[in-house]
Symmetry: C2
Subunit: 322 residues, 2 copies
């Protein structure tokens, strides 16, 4: 064992390590997978252009409680609309936004992962109205402004500062070994793009996510991409592998998620005769973050059955936020 | 002028040049644009991550006559279906495929660019049936096989060998100056992906195009992406800027096309306060390729009005195919 570890260190002398990962099953699975994938003479070698890793975002790269970050943003926008139009104050989702009823919003997502989309549909309806007619430049400015200022109400830190340090280390570690990282999230693609490069080092062209329908509007200065009041893709569950293929045109070998919405993405990783690493994050750290399995029950069951690597935030990580 | 040219050569000593481009307005516009975009002290400097170029494929990077390459592929598949099912032989598009009526197929596309989608709809219906239920692996194998063998019936060379040498030089030239090239085509994305890396040096993740609807099918070996019998996106006209934004998350500064379907993509390049180069290829070389403006009339009118750079294949290029 000592010899193996020494060999491994010798083969990757200058690369980033995983300082916030305790020596345990999860860390060992990652290091071994990367070692095998980069060993040209090994049976599990993966050529550099096939070293593709896909990461969910909400609850995987950054904190999603008490509600996903994007909901915080939509909340602000919906409350603003209700401020101007009192008739909206009795209707969901404006009611929850206006009265700061965060619980209703968080629960809508949990219900979705349990198969009940009723509240998510109300939310989506509000979201469509919230941005309809807005140009991408306007949207990005508004979302970027929110992400510069707004705080997670439970953690007392900015939403953008609630990314997980060990995950950022993992992104750097993979890059150092020739992997290309993509974000494949149920969150809104263009919302995430405002900050993914800065927080995770993942540029806009490698962010896959949900989006409302868009249209091109001719005009001066090259025209604009404008939001329509219609849904397009909700990038969750079985939609994730399709979106990943559509964007990348190759099948990833590494997938990281934390909920039932990530199951198909995790299953899709690897493929016939190719190695795969599937990581499922377990939120079990009430002291430093949150302790919940709501919306992740099925994925945790599958992890046991199919041998996916469960990452315990409590036991596998020495640090949480920067 | 001599001094300027010397400076320019001095600033890019080791980069690929454009040997198949004659010294003329088009070549000069390209060289000047790239010079300005890479001049850190100039007013038209473009930072490397914003140096994005989008290229149409059919009729821009490779020959689209007597019909687009992908139609050749669909033809083979449709003829095969009609071979097995005689009832299909009297119905379009199987009739055209079975009787090798290339004119009907080419005209369907020309009609589309004139605003008449009737035949394109028949074609799409056939195409949807042709691949319905097929996994992406099966489709890619079939398309790759076609692209290895099949010949353009008019040029007497393989379809894959009917890419334009000056365009490949342009791709390399741009790359050498820090640009990232994307293909943004009305052609089927996963069809193009079989060869874009080899022919153009553009990897799968930088190919944007049309696609039929796909679904994820769970199963052994990580499941599969499978074709549904439904359309998804026809990446043409105003859909192009939307698809480009969706994929890249940034607005390109350089766009290259050859037809009315590229107008919005060409207009979208640049944006407020940013430089842009728009190239429109004119097929005017009956001796080496084809001479036609069908489906490009509006774009040629706009090129005059808006000052886009028209590239004459006859007058601006010394070579055509490899």
């Amino acid at each position: 064992m000592a010899t193996e570890s020494a060999q491994q260190q010798a083969s990757t002398p200058a690369s980033p390590s995983l300082p916030s990962w305790k020596d345990g099953e999860a860390r060992r699975a990652i290091v071994q997978f990367v070692k095998d994938a980069t060993d040209e003479n090994g049976a599990h070698y993966v050529p550099p252009h096939e070293r593709l890793a896909v990461f969910d975002n909400d609850g995987t790269l950054w904190c999603e409680k008490p509600m996903p970050v994007e909901l915080g943003f939509i909340l602000v926008r919906l409350a603003e609309m209700a401020e101007h139009d009192p008739a909206l104050r009795d209707r969901q989702p404006w009611k929850a936004a206006y009265s700061k009823d965060y619980a209703w919003l968080g629960e809508a997502i949990t219900k979705h992962y349990r198969g009940d989309d009723s509240d998510v549909k109300l939310l989506i309806g509000g979201m469509l109205k919230a941005f309809s007619g807005m140009s991408m430049e306007e949207y990005t400015k508004m979302a970027g402004g929110f992400l510069t200022e707004a705080k997670n109400p439970a953690l007392n830190r900015r939403f953008r500062d609630a990314g997980y340090v060990p995950m950022v280390e993992l992104l750097r570690y993979l890059e150092a070994h020739g992997f290309t990282n993509y974000i494949a999230s149920g969150g809104d693609r263009d919302f995430m793009r405002c900050v993914t490069e800065e927080i995770y080092g993942v540029p806009p062209e490698r962010v896959i996510g949900s989006t409302n329908a868009l249209r091109y509007q001719s005009g001066p200065d090259g025209g604009a991409i404008v939001y329509r009041e219609a849904p397009d893709v909700f990038d969750d569950g079985p939609a994730k592998p399709v979106r990943i293929w559509s964007r990348i045109g190759r099948r990833p070998v590494l997938a990281v998620g934390n909920s039932n919405g990530d199951i198909e993405m995790l299953q899709y990783a690897g493929g016939k005769g190719r190695p795969a690493l599937r990581l499922l994050l377990l939120h079990d750290d009430a002291a430093r973050e949150f302790d919940y399995v709501g919306g992740a029950e099925k994925s945790l069951d599958l992890a046991k059955k199919e041998g996916w690597t469960v990452v315990s935030m409590k036991n596998d990580w020495t640090a949480m936020f920067a």
